[in-house]
Symmetry: C2
Subunit: 191 residues, 2 copies
DNA sequence: CATATTCTGAAGCGCATGCTCCAGAATGTC
DNA sequence: GACATTCTGGAGCATGCGCTTCAGAATATG
């Protein structure tokens, strides 16, 4: 049932556009990115943009979906593969590479924390993202310790990695890398 | 040499005004707080405000100074008093109270991370704040383990507490409190 | 009281914001 | 080729932004 609707077809690829939106929101923040900035970076006029996504907020929510997909592929898969303390260590190792490879801009979602405080829809999306990471950490750590201990360790790694994302946005790269190493060192003592 | 200059004296108290500025920047964020908002909350006209502080950015920097003073008094003093693992644990306990008492808005400085990325003066101020906390953690932990281990633990607590601040801005209070308990649990294993 | 200095409210500057509207171009179906 | 439908660029809306300007009120010194 993929009948084509009559009328002029869209001249841009939704995923390409979303990638550019992720990049812009990630680099400069949500509030700091204007619809004119998006127009320029995405190569779409504002009318096309609003026609396709509805609002700046809706575009952000779609961009978060796309961002989360990438995070799952590049980061969380290290947790799923094998599991155990080693998996968490590899997750943190990948996090360091992820940060360096993306120009030390931390995490899109973490950078939205202030915006989330005054926008329930964004707050809900951010909470879901946080939950997904915590669940992945718990799953990886399952069986390495009593359940309560597993959850405490997951919370610790979650908080520490979010802190790294916050720090990364404005600190020298070496400092960020050292902090990640410190976290990994702690994680390894659990083995 | 406290000779009074001729001319009409200022009708407001600088520290009272700064407290209100801290409160507003903290609650709503820097970019999200307009000079009109400040005018309203501080009870000063914009001209008086600019006459006294020079710019919105300068006001923020002054507000950070005042905020850091409060943090030192309410949080870091727990690290200085006694020292050792127990001091870090009490610091985290105080952090939970600080968050609850301030309406779960996290940390003013952590909320500036995105702004700091595009404003060198704010970035420098944020880095100094971060350094002060790390130094206090290192000092408290000094002697409880080899120097390298002390620094790694300080980094971990720093990152985790910054993560808590980020999460606190948009998560349910219970979740935040549970995360802090998880961090404290880990810290206590060092004893 | 005269004078110099400072503070203050209101008005306004140019510019950016998120979003909408609309005429016309583009491309599908029949 | 006729038609229905959708996309697109540009102009424009009301609003808000950080900041400045200025005339006049307020208050110190001498």
């Amino acid at each position: 049932m993929t009948t084509t609707t009559p009328g002029r077809p869209r001249s841009f690829d939704d995923e390409t556009v979303l990638d550019a939106a992720v990049d812009l929101f990630w680099e400069r923040g949500y509030k700091e990115t204007s619809t004119r900035d998006l127009e320029r970076a995405l190569g779409l006029s504002q009318s096309s943009l609003y026609n396709a996504f509805g609002s700046k907020q809706a575009l952000l929510l779609a961009a978060i979906d796309r961002y989360e997909t990438a995070v799952k592929r590049d980061l969380l898969d290290h947790l799923a593969a094998g599991g155990g303390i080693g998996a968490v260590d590899r997750f943190l190792e990948a996090l360091a590479g992820w940060l360096a490879g993306s120009g030390m801009r931390g995490c899109l979602v973490v950078s939205l924390m202030t915006t989330a405080r005054e926008d329930p829809a964004i707050a809900a999306r951010v909470a879901a993202y946080r939950g997904a990471i915590r669940d992945a950490l718990c799953a990886a750590l399952d069986g390495t310790a009593p359940r309560a201990e597993v959850q405490a360790r997951a919370d610790l790694v979650l908080a520490a990695s979010f802190g790294v994302h916050a720090i990364a946005r404005a600190a020298p790269a070496e400092e960020v890398m050292r902090i990640i190493e410190s976290i990994r060192h702690q994680v390894r003592t659990w083995d």
